[in-house]
């Protein structure tokens, strides 16, 4: 990897920024602020991640409920989702993540616009809320007749001892035609959204995947895991997959439906987009059903090409390979034209990215394509493997917060386990450089000398801006206006600022144009008024002031 010389060294930044904290917290933060180094075999420095945020620190993080209901299950349109708790959690997760969905007919089930909650009141907190939850399910079934119902526990539910799983089981007996399942995703679990992802993965795996044994037609059938269709990303990916001749069985969980989840174990390949939020499901499906998986990145035109080539290579079919190459050729022609026009205007600009568990990595590719250098990046809720690569998995120490999240023991399914490629074949391919079940991590792909910061907080973000004056900051809504008040353009990489798609080829074009606008538009130039540039008054009209 190339070197990047920061104007003030990353080491100096780390030392000076950590000084403000208590000695204990300072010591911890120093292990989470890393100056990147890449050595032989992708070896990178160890970073401390997936650890508690200190109370009082303004963090970018959310909670387990947000990770479970908001991120993983939220995008599915026909699983009716009931938040069990006081009203707030259901209200805030109502449509705010921009997961687009496209029902196949005007009558098809689509509950995206509906936020459902038991709106627990004081009496129920005191005497228990299970009865109200059951009554809410009764009403939901009577009104909507859904295919499936998911129940999401909020903080107080766990504490008052409501058993959402027991209620789900009882409800399922009452309504045999509806699959009803609960998630113990109380907000206090774990240290961030990440705990919620894991909880969601577990339940989807045990209660949904494998319920329907009917495969979709098609020769090359795959699932995409960890793509949530924000701003229409999944639509663009579906378009490319179709052009290539692939059968996209299901997407977890952008633009998805229950039946596709339930039959996803019949596909022959899983590819993983957002490693952090869904790698558990990929692993478990491989163990139980024999479906191999590998990591892809469909953000960035080059990364998209590479990923589709890898998918074609997996299926090892000359016709598929030919079509894939044709698609890439056609699409890249348009991409190149826009990129060549925009790149000179963005070349050499600098960006910092703090977002998600994958986006801070993926979007570096897109920015690089138009010459923008990422000088600092980090995740909100990732683990060490997302930074350093899955090779460090065996050395990750599981702390008390993570231990509380159930780790399922998975064994091969007695009748349905079917290795899609033999161990021998897999080894041969791996020897030839084809990586399965692997994620290289963000750090090996970042320039040496740049900063990698886990769970970057408000104070550190302010200091980064003060030290390095980036031309662009990418993070979330809470950070947006803090940055923009300073006259620096800010791009939201959770919601895309209500634009998109940014994935795939058309997404790349959209993103280049958007970054070009942000870096080169006039608006931010007005942050300073003309009189701020030269505040001293000259004496010419001094008499006016005397009056």
């Amino acid at each position: 990897m190339e070197n990047y010389q920061l104007p003030i060294s990353g080491e100096q930044f780390r030392e000076e920024v950590s000084e403000v904290y208590s000695p204990k917290l300072g010591k911890k933060r120093k292990r989470q602020i890393i100056v990147n180094k890449v050595e032989e075999g992708d070896s990178v420095p160890e970073i401390l991640a997936n650890t508690r945020t200190a109370p009082g620190i303004i963090s970018m993080r959310g909670c387990a409920y947000a990770g479970c209901k908001g991120v993983v299950l939220g995008p599915t349109r026909d699983i009716l989702q009931i938040t069990h708790g006081p009203i707030g959690c259901g209200f805030y997760s109502w449509l705010t993540r921009r997961n687009k969905t496209r029902p196949t007919t005007p009558e098809a089930e689509n509950y995206m616009q509906y936020a459902m909650s038991t709106d627990l009141q004081e009496d129920e907190i005191v005497f228990g809320g299970e009865k109200k939850l059951m009554a809410a399910i009764d009403e939901a079934v009577a009104l909507f007749h859904p295919r499936a119902i998911g129940i999401f526990a909020t903080c107080p539910v766990g504490l008052i001892g409501d058993d959402v799983h027991a209620v789900a089981r009882a409800a399922e007996e009452k309504y045999p035609g509806t699959n009803i399942f609960g998630f113990s995703c109380e907000g206090y679990k774990g240290v961030s959204q990440s705990a919620g992802h894991h909880i969601a993965n577990n339940k989807v795996f045990t209660d949904v995947v494998g319920q329907i044994d009917k495969p979709k037609d098609g020769k090359f059938r795959l699932n995409i895991l960890g793509e949530y269709n924000i701003g229409g990303d999944a639509f663009e990916i579906e378009r490319i997959a179709e052009l290539c001749g692939l059968t996209l069985h299901s997407t977890f969980s952008g633009n998805s439906i229950y039946d596709e989840f339930a039959s996803s174990h019949t596909a022959d390949l899983n590819v993983v987009m957002c490693h952090r939020s869904i790698n558990y499901l990929a692993e478990m499906m491989e163990l139980k059903y024999g479906i191999p998986w590998f990591k892809v990145n469909l953000v960035g035109a080059e990364a998209t090409s590479k990923s589709f080539r890898k998918i074609a290579a997996f299926f090892n079919d000359s016709e598929l390979t030919k079509r894939t190459e044709e698609v890439i050729e056609t699409e890249m022609e348009i991409v190149r034209k826009v990129r060549d026009e925009i790149r000179p205007r963005c070349e050499g600009k600098t960006a910092i990215l703090f977002v998600g568990g994958s986006r801070a990595h993926h979007y570096q590719d897109l920015l690089r394509e138009i010459g923008v250098v990422t000088i600092a990046a980090g995740y909100e809720f990732a683990h060490r493997d997302d930074y350093e690569g899955r090779k460090v998995l065996p050395s990750i120490v599981v702390d008390a917060d993570s231990r509380n999240i159930e780790e399922l023991t998975v064994t091969p399914d007695e009748t349905r386990f079917r290795p899609r490629i033999s161990e021998e074949e897999k080894s041969t391919r791996e020897a030839a450089g084809f990586a399965f079940s692997d994620y290289r991590g963000m750090m090996p792909e970042m320039p040496v000398g740049t900063l990698v910061i886990d769970d970057c907080n408000h104070y550190e973000l302010e200091k980064l801006i003060e030290y390095y004056h980036p031309d662009l900051v990418c993070a979330g809504i809470k950070e947006k206006y803090i940055v923009q008040k300073q006259g620096i353009p800010m791009k939201q990489l959770h919601s895309y600022d209500y634009m998109g798609p940014f994935a795939g080829f058309r997404g790349a074009v959209n993103f280049y144009r958007e970054i070009d606008r942000l870096l080169n538009c006039n608006a931010f130039k007005f942050a300073k008024a003309p009189w701020d540039e030269s505040p001293e008054l000259t004496a010419t009209y001094g008499f006016v002031a005397d009056q």
Binding site: S22, P55, G56, P106, Q113, A115, E139, I160, D401, G487
Partner: protein, 459 residues
């Protein structure tokens, strides 16, 4: 149809809330706390609460919303949040240096029974709170009331912690607004200023959540009521609560605690309610209504009369929070519009929203307030009796789109339009703005829908 699964007729529900017309207490408390100068709102609960509240307020205001959290883990949820809160105080004062930390509780910390009074006392004893700095708190359990209750509770906490009666009146009038926009607070201050009245206003979020872009980020923008002013409110000659649900509890406490006489008025939205505020101020302060306000009023009345034909008889359905709803209903009456439905998820308590609305519109109007009074019910109501206009928050847009009914965005949250934080709806000038918006909606519809032969050049 985006809300294709909403059946016609009114579905009776006792347990399931669908598309709520309210949210939870802590966000209201956070918003109120932003109305103190140099104050850091602090959410005592899981990280997610604070993240959700900051995100929601940021989407509404398009401005930085700074707040901290106790970041509860599973351990703190079992063993209590005291250690987290004490650590938070140290970190907040060290890193962000506010004058005040305003703590609100959450359902989590309420359920485990954290005793905030005791924890704050301990923090002082252990010198976790530096000299000259203060910590206040409000109990805001999410399982009672709504965001309006939370706002009222934090405003009340300000009185409880700060207001002092020194025995000497300071000749000021204290103004406590309900949960409204910063622009609306500015407009109310403008009215008092024009009348030559010295006032204290809190919470006051103007110049906090509608700050300018000038190349600098300020963690504590220049607005917000200084705590010394809240203290001095105990010596004020009178307190006016603007809005019964959001403002009256704080005003009442000022009376009990400091013997400041209370006056309660509706939020000054529209002519009648603004007249009532101006008249109340005039009488309390013993001043004449100045020419400038007479002119503002006259201009609003001018438009109301000139354009009355475009509003008269138009049917309106409203959804939102009780204090704003009540004044809006009055304004609809002022403009000759017919109100079909009034709905809020906020429990009305002693406010008697229904009685007040019926005083104006009799038995025909449908008033719904409290549990399971949500947007799903609102949708079913407007399907049964279709209005010409819906007034409500951003989430009403799905109903409006499905039914092709125009939407006047009002209340919280407004995620998809801007302006409300800069341009008021309170006072006479705000009334003018509001009326112009309503007129534009009806007149644009007329232009769009008229038969070709009936398109009017002059309207």
């Amino acid at each position: 149809m985006l809300l294709r699964h909403t059946p016609s007729g009114i579905s009776v529900r006792k347990a399931l809330t669908v598309n709520p017309a309210k949210t939870c207490q802590p966000i209201g408390a956070m918003y109120a706390a932003l109305g103190l100068h140099n104050c850091m709102p602090h959410s005592h609960g899981s990280q997610g609460c604070c993240a959700y509240h900051r995100s929601s307020l940021t989407r509404h205001y398009n401005d930085p919303i700074m707040a901290t959290t106790s970041s509860f883990s599973e351990g703190s949820s079992v063993f209590g949040g005291q250690a987290n809160l004490l650590e938070a105080f140290t970190n907040i004062f060290t890193l962000y240096n506010p004058d005040i930390i305003a703590v609100n509780t959450t359902c989590l910390s309420e359920v485990i029974g954290d005793d905030l009074v005791q924890i704050i006392k301990k923090a002082y004893e252990e010198k976790k709170i530096p000299e000259g700095k203060v910590v206040i708190h409000a109990n805001t359990p999410s399982f009672t009331g709504s965001h309006i209750t939370g706002y009222a509770n934090m405003a009340t906490a300000m009185v409880k912690y700060f207001a002092k009666n020194t025995g000497k009146r300071n000749g000021k009038i204290t103004l406590i607004p309900s949960f409204i926009e910063p622009s609306d607070m500015t407009e109310i201050k403008h009215i008092a200023s024009e009348m030559g009245i010295k006032y204290i206003m809190f919470p006051d979020t103007s110049d906090v959540v509608n700050s300018p872009l000038d190349g600098h980020f300020r963690m504590y923008p220049k607005g917000g009521c200084p705590k010394e002013q809240v203290t001095a409110s105990g010596d004020s000659n009178a307190v006016i609560a603007l809005g019964r649900l959001g403002a009256m509890p704080a005003a009442r406490l000022l009376d009990t605690q400091c013997k400041v006489p209370v006056h309660v008025v509706d939020l000054p939205i529209g002519i009648t309610a603004t007249d009532n505020l101006v008249d109340t101020l005039r009488k309390i302060a013993g001043v004449a209504v100045p020419e400038s306000l007479r002119k503002e009023r006259g201009q609003l009345v001018d438009i109301l009369c000139d354009m009355n034909q475009y509003t008269y008889g138009k049917k309106v359905s409203l959804l939102g929070d009780p204090d704003i709803l009540l004044s809006m209903v009055q304004f609809c009456k002022d403009a000759g519009m017919e109100v079909l439905h009034v709905l809020t998820g906020t429990p009305p308590g002693k406010v008697k929203l229904e009685d007040r609305v019926r005083e104006l519109y009799g038995d025909k109007v449908v008033v719904k307030a409290g549990l399971q009074c949500d947007m799903f019910m609102f949708h079913q109501l407007v399907q049964e009796n279709r209005p010409d206009l819906i007034m409500g928050n951003t989430y009403c847009k799905y109903i409006c789109r499905d039914m092709d009914i125009p939407l006047l965005r009002i209340g919280y949250p407004i995620y998809d339009r801007i302006g409300q934080s800069y341009i008021p709806i309170t006072g006479y000038r705000g009334g003018m703005h509001l009326l112009l918006k309503i007129l534009s909606i009806f007149m644009d519809r007329q232009d769009r829908d008229a038969e070709e032969e009936n398109v009017e050049l002059i309207m």
